[in-house]
């Protein structure tokens, strides 16, 4: 397994590949208000490149976020977008994906949004295998609220709310995702854009729930997990001979956090996505576009039960 392999074929019912739009066509109406050097720039660029290389048009994609620095992303990209409440992006995205399963739904957000306030939705969206690509810009800190402890902040980390150092263990979202039933689990680093583009393309094309945890350093409030920290430690799984179909190997690799922190595709399996399991969506096109109206036969059927 020397090379990252991602399935780039569209499912049969998806729109066919079209000539790629230039990356600049995906520039949003607003310019990012992130701090200079923020890791989130790398993720935004990687996502735009991925959309372009996949031949997607702005209207094919619905980008949904919660609240936080990274959750401002939908405003900075030219797709349909929803900038929802803190922690609720995955729930909103589930509804939107089922309502129109022809859309490519990309969910973006931060570690606090996804693993803290939104943790319950994260858990359930994975077991349901909703067809979403979920990109978490994981900076191990609360940035927008100016530097408090995050669910992924390491034990001992000093923040404004843990001045003596945190006494809690962090969440490790990768083994959590593998164990909870996510069907595409990857980790990227915003400083390694080419590699990240591959992971994001794989996530968008994956049919089912694809999770990409991206190290996206906060240059303002996190002095521990810096670009230098990640540059030294991150190693590509494909270079480490990892087999992403091996569940147990994936769990072992996911728990490595030392001199080497692996990035890449940890785990991938094929399983029907929620919309594929929903009989109502088996035919008739996107739910949202179906006309209203109850047939005389159906009305009679309902009424007969009441008589």
């Amino acid at each position: 397994m020397g090379e990252l392999r991602v399935d780039t074929s569209f499912p049969l019912d998806r729109k066919p590949r079209r000539p790629s739009l230039p990356v600049k066509e995906f520039k949003g109406k607003a310019d990012p208000d992130w701090c200079p050097g923020c890791g989130d720039f790398g993720v935004l660029n990687a996502l735009k490149i991925a959309l372009s290389e996949l031949g997607l048009q702005p209207h094919d994609v619905l980008t949904i976020s919660g609240i936080g620095c990274s959750s401002n992303l939908p405003g900075y990209i030219n797709t349909y977008g929803m900038h929802t409440l803190h922690g609720r992006a995955l729930a909103v995205a589930t509804g939107a994906q089922l309502a129109n399963h022809k859309l490519k739904v990309v969910v973006t957000g931060g570690d606090g949004d996804g693993f803290g306030i939104g943790g319950n939705h994260f858990l359930h969206v994975m077991r349901r295998n909703v067809d979403l690509a979920y990109l978490v810009m994981d900076n191990q800190i609360y940035g927008l609220t100016t530097g408090q402890l995050s669910p992924t902040s390491r034990r001992g980390m000093k923040t404004k709310t843990t001045p003596e150092g945190s006494v809690e263990d962090p969440v490790n979202p990768i083994p959590m995702a593998i164990a909870c039933g996510a069907t595409y689990v990857a980790r990227g680093y915003s400083g390694n854009q080419k590699h990240l583009v591959g992971l994001i393309k794989g996530a968008i094309e994956h049919r089912g729930f694809a999770f990409v945890d991206v190290f996206s350093p906060c240059v303002t409030y996190n002095k521990d997990n810096t670009h230098d920290f990640f540059k030294e430690r991150t190693k590509k799984l494909e270079d480490l001979g990892h087999d992403p179909t091996d569940f147990h190997a994936a769990l072992d690799r996911a728990r490595e956090w030392d001199e080497t922190i692996p990035i890449g595709l940890f785990y991938k399996r094929d399983a029907p996505a929620l919309d594929e399991c929903e009989p109502v969506l088996a035919s008739g096109g996107p739910l949202a576009l179906r006309p209203p109206g109850v047939s005389a036969g159906d009305a009679r059927w309902i009424l007969d039960e009441l008589m």
């Binding site: 209207h59 509804g95 022809k102 008589m307």
Partner: protein, 593 residues
């Protein structure tokens, strides 16, 4: 007042099968063309406790469970002991001789012991025999019941049907030979009627409205909507999801609604509390959806199986900030059906969340419908939506702006997936093109203009609403004001008062937001004595009425014990209020259920 008005009460422990004979009787009456109202008083346990189902039938629509029982069927000793003292002359008490012994009955109450163990093959047939005995005493032929038994047990085979029919005949014959029938015979109507619970009616209202996406977390007493939807979803083409919590519910609903589905969810007060931030988000992004709060007795977990109108201020103030919303309280079980398409049309047209404030009394009660009343294809107004047909519309000159300041304040929304209209909707305050105003400068002039457009669009709702229902003589001594589910019981109390020489009229409020303040003031300024009747402690509607109209009601009748009003509670209250004994009358529920 109905000519024939027949009420049966069936009491027992949870798990003892109180619902089965109750459902059979309700359905049987409806099949014979009689109107029915049924209400089950129960507790939050699966086995044990005391449940009491009242089924009332008559030729005219039955508006509440009424004050009087003609017949009591205690399935256990506890039910006999609790309810026998309430039975009056002319009524009958039917029970299993082997399991229940009567206490002292009032004069003229007929005790009807059935030796069930001797009459039928097994305990499985007790209810069948008892229902048949009721029918005999009420002068109803047996064949309708026999036909229902054949349908009910069709899957279980001929032998089971035969055993049940035999049990029914045994009960019918025994009652005929040993007990005195009622002095009337229950008539039959011209045609079969449909019968449904309020929860089923809310769900069917959703179907009629064209709901394509329904999601919920189970919570009594709203779960019936979810279960009905789940049972019917596949054939009707509705995606139904049970979600991990109500935060997930409202946000999933927002996603589905934004993508273009008519979307509905239902919960009770506790779940609604979790949804409130989401409702504000829907209003901020201007995404229409309908959220039902089926109220139960609160606060907190409260009394999960009991009714109350205690969430009015919760829905009025749901979520942070000022935001546009619609709130309506259905007034009857059939209205649970009719209101849903109406409020969806308004929500879609005005691009805002709508809240339906029902309660346990409606949601778990049964009522009859004329079959043609259930119109599953009412008129549908989706408002201004671009891309609903899946086409490729031309974007306007200068690009599509989701939140353009149009003259009516309601710019068209474009569904995700529509070419040329990509845009962002945000819960942060945003400009006409969807860009967050905090991304440039938080411009106070912009914010003011946005607030005025988003709030101001709702001013056009009021003229579209039917006026509030007012009945009775204008110059009455008393005006009873109710809201939502109390309509039927107040109607009946007004009639009872008239018979006792007290002229009352009745204003029932269905639209909470917007409140039809002018129409209400016009009616109430002529009132000699305004009495507000509501199922809560603090007079939530009385306070709301005062805040919106300046009208300070003379007095109030309030009940907050978990059980709904009975007509005599209101009649007694009015008499005490007129006599000047109090300005707040709180009835005591006579039976502990």
């Amino acid at each position: 007042m109905a000519d024939i008005d027949f009420a049966v009460g069936i009491g027992g422990a949870a798990g003892q099968g109180v619902a089965t004979p109750g459902n059979i009787l309700s359905k049987l009456f409806a099949r014979r063309g009689l109107h029915v109202n049924a209400y089950n008083a129960y507790q939050s346990i699966i086995r044990g406790g005391h449940t009491f189902l009242t089924v009332r039938a008559g030729k005219d629509p039955i508006r509440c469970m009424g004050d009087r029982l003609d017949m009591l069927i205690p399935l256990n000793q506890d039910s006999m002991d609790r309810h026998l003292p309430r039975m009056r002359r002319g009524s009958s008490v039917l029970y299993d001789k082997g399991r229940v012994t009567p206490g002292d009955a009032a004069p003229g109450v007929q005790l009807c012991p059935l030796p069930l163990a001797e009459m039928v093959k097994s305990v499985l047939h007790y209810n069948t025999a008892a229902v048949a005995a009721v029918l005999r005493l009420a002068g109803v032929e047996l064949k309708t019941f026999e036909a229902m038994l054949a349908e009910q047990f069709a899957r279980k085979g001929e032998a089971v049907i035969a055993d049940n029919v035999a049990a029914a005949r045994a009960g019918y014959e025994y009652a005929g030979a040993n007990f005195q029938p009622f002095p009337f015979e229950l008539p039959s109507g011209e045609k079969r009627l449909a019968i449904a619970t309020g929860n089923e009616s809310l769900a069917m209202g959703g179907v009629a409205a064209g709901v394509r996406f329904y999601c919920a977390y189970p919570m009594s007493p709203s779960t019936g909507v979810l279960m009905w939807m789940a049972r019917h979803a596949r054939r009707l083409g509705i995606v139904v999801r049970q979600v991990e919590d109500e935060l997930g519910v409202i946000n999933m609903a927002i996603g589905a609604a934004h993508a273009g589905c008519r979307t509905m969810c239902a919960t009770s007060g506790g779940g609604f509390a979790l949804m409130t931030e989401g409702l504000g988000a829907a209003a901020m992004m201007e995404i229409p959806l309908v959220c039902i709060d089926v109220q139960r007795a609160g606060p907190a977990t409260g009394v999960p199986t009991k009714t109350e109108q205690g969430d009015l201020w919760q829905v009025l103030g749901a979520g942070q900030g000022d935001y546009p919303r619609l709130i309506a309280a259905p007034t009857t079980i059939p209205d649970c059906f009719h209101l849903i398409p109406q409020i969806f049309n308004l929500a879609d047209r005005f691009q805002c969340p709508a809240i339906v404030l029902a309660d346990l009394l409606l949601s778990e009660g049964f009522a009859t419908f004329e079959p043609e009343e259930l119109d599953f294809n009412p008129s549908i107004d989706r408002g201004l939506v671009i891309g609903l047909d899946g086409g490729e519309p031309e974007p306007p000159e200068g690009g599509y702006k989701r939140y353009r300041a149009t003259s009516d304040g309601i710019p068209p929304r474009a569904l995700p997936g529509t070419p040329g209209h990509a845009h962002v909707v945000a819960t942060d305050e945003h400009d006409q093109d969807g860009v967050l105003i905090s991304d440039e400068f938080t411009d106070p002039h912009k914010r003011q203009a946005i607030m005025e457009r988003r709030q101001g669009k709702m001013e056009a709702v009021l003229p579209l609403l039917d006026p509030p229902r007012f009945t009775g003589p204008v110059d009455a001594e008393v005006t009873l004001v109710g809201w939502g589910s109390t309509q039927g019981v107040i109607d009946e109390a007004v009639e009872d008062l008239a018979r006792q020489g007290i002229a009352a009229n009745h204003l029932q409020i269905r639209w909470i937001v917007p409140l039809q303040a002018e129409a209400i003031i016009e009616r109430l300024q002529l009132s000699r004595r305004i009495v507000i009747v509501e199922n809560n402690y603090s007079g939530q509607f009385a306070r709301y009425l005062r805040s919106e109209t300046g009208i300070c009601a003379h007095s109030s009748i309030r009940k907050y014990d978990g059980e709904p009003f009975l007509p005599h509670h209101i009649v007694d209250g009015v008499k005490e209020l007129i006599a000047g004994k109090t300005r707040k009358y709180v009835p005591v529920h006579e039976i502990r259920v």
